[in-house]
Assembly symmetry: C2
Amino acid sequence: MAQLSRESLHASVADPVLETISFLNEVMSRHPQAVSFAPGAPHPSFVRTLDGHRYVQRYLDHLADTEGLGRERAQLLLGEYGPSRGLINGLVAAALGQDLGTEVPPQALVVTVGAQEAMFLVLRALFRSPSDLLAVTDPSFPGITGAARLLDIGVVPVPERGDGLDLDRLEAACEQARRQDRRIRLCYVAPDFANPSGSRMDLAARHRLLELAERADFLLLEDNVYGFTAAPGAELPALKSLDHGGRVVHVGSFAKICFPGARAGFVLADQEVRAADGTTRLLADEIAALKSMVTVNTSPWSQALVGGMLLEHGGSLRTLGAEKSRLYRRNLALLTDALDRHVGASPPPGVHWNRPDGGFFVRMTLPVPADAALLEVSAAKYGVLWTPMAGFHLDDTGDRVLRLSCSYLDPEQIETGVRRLAAFLRNELGS
Amino acid sequence: MAQLSRESLHASVADPVLETISFLNEVMSRHPQAVSFAPGAPHPSFVRTLDGHRYVQRYLDHLADTEGLGRERAQLLLGEYGPSRGLINGLVAAALGQDLGTEVPPQALVVTVGAQEAMFLVLRALFRSPSDLLAVTDPSFPGITGAARLLDIGVVPVPERGDGLDLDRLEAACEQARRQDRRIRLCYVAPDFANPSGSRMDLAARHRLLELAERADFLLLEDNVYGFTAAPGAELPALKSLDHGGRVVHVGSFAKICFPGARAGFVLADQEVRAADGTTRLLADEIAALKSMVTVNTSPWSQALVGGMLLEHGGSLRTLGAEKSRLYRRNLALLTDALDRHVGASPPPGVHWNRPDGGFFVRMTLPVPADAALLEVSAAKYGVLWTPMAGFHLDDTGDRVLRLSCSYLDPEQIETGVRRLAAFLRNELGS
């Protein structure tokens, strides 16, 4: 039997985050009674009550009647191959246009297998030469650094503070790249409640980032997955809404706002691409072409599930997200409140955490490494689980950081979990 | 508005096959009355009658009752994120094991977003260094060359004859690579009724290919998408069934045997991978890890559709494929018979075609370029469409070749189409 050495495989197979996740799953399966602040997944109540058949039927009705295709043609569209760019682009464009407050042309959208494929395709389209670099917030969502690793794209970490990306450091990184005959081609940023930092950029910072992108000639990859969790009245415009220079490629996910099992997301890429012969097309066209070599097209069944859900909510992402946003804001408030009550009164020295205004996550810093060994103690002796953040950081500043997610839990689990966490912190770090 | 030059994007955005396909779609939309031998898609009758809801329910019942998860947990599995390697691996492993005549461990399978993602991930996992080369049959399914282009993998074309890959040329290519300090790492081959050549390797050739892979130390990527169209009794064992040296990574699609809209396929990669620390895992584990950076997981809804269809057909891919295989064999016989009747009696000089025993396609060679201009004439004056093959070839030998697909048509369309094609050949090439 031929045996392969791991060193002969592409370097991306050895990803520390994947090892963290499989370790976490393994710990969770050994401690089923533990309260787990690990999963960043949508709350199960939104999935348990899902009537997928109804959504598919609703989308079929829309195709058959509203779009005038008739029942048979509609049924074929769901079962056959479809265009790489997607089927539900018109519905998504209308909904996204409402959210962004700008007109979104359907042909500037590609419906993808989740936001992950969207990010992957954007990287593939935009990175041609090894001298092109990707700037990412540090810490960062592992999906973006993983996709870059898969494509051998050089990554430049830019620290993220409570109010988002450090713009001075980003500008310095652009300068440094230029001195080395390289350039920052694209900068990944999640301006609203980033995973895992929870940080949020204010309006002025968003404008400054766009100005910097213009001045230093790079593009922005905006990940807007958690934008819908902002409190009503406290929403800030997406970078794409402020983007007059065509600097922003905007990706989104339907996992949180619809449900993860649809595996659908999208990318809005309205930049114009000019070929040597003078013809132009949209960046979305190029991304759709690349998609045909990765997944061909997003399952039309998945798209029907999302399309039907959108139609049942008046074609509005905001309406779809509103109920979910309420639950996540409640949970986040319960989590930070419980931390204040149970840990905050007398936290062990060196223990501190942030209090984000939205998103799914709280980050906590410990005075000791938040590693697998400590997690094992936390699970076995205290019955509480969290995610070690080392894999989310590009240097070692995450070694003492853990992430608490509130999204998958019910109020009493949050209360019990924080009580257990407080005991863990008190007994294991308190002396 | 920032404008991007196409030259600044990754080179894979300019794919000649994609341009052929969009041109074809455009011609088809301008000539809706033409008979089109272009689409290689499954016959619409298999999609029109599809009861997706029933299949999803069937799979839910299976999870809830047979696997004992209960209704609520089953519903959650369908709606939530799932493991990168897939949910229905047990069902697929059992079905594939029957087909291959070997035991297939579920953990050696990854369920992918179609065979396309499977091929893409296999390439990514196996190609680390620019000195590693991919050998492909020439002509070749554009999905494999497209995926290689996306990953900047060097491709070595190996001519395909009526009985499959030219093994002497493949061996010579291995030698040549070695002389240049490079190596053939992987060879793509579709041994049964390859798209577009229709060629099939006999049993002796399969054994010789496996021996060569052993001797020259490369792996085989077996694409088995059309294997199910073999006539009953005329099936040949897949390369994977004959693979005692662990040389074969086997990919398959559910698009043809179930339906394309599920967008599901799989890869069987049971090779052992040894890390520097002596631990081992399967190549499928590495592929699943890479998948988490491309699409995270295949939609569990899609997997439920496929899983339910498998369950309704006794868990057998062969049973699922049998009815479909009958239709495609009938259509292929009608197509070759009509060609014999309408063209064969007095074909214009230089016109010839093959008569494959299975698959969806007949290849026809013309004495003149089978290009966009000629297709336009064929569509406008004669009402018949076909696919120019230039983009499926790695050199210019495909410039005079067209492909006729029988899979999407009904008997009377095939008869009418060939009659029109005969007139086109007679009038446009006959003098």
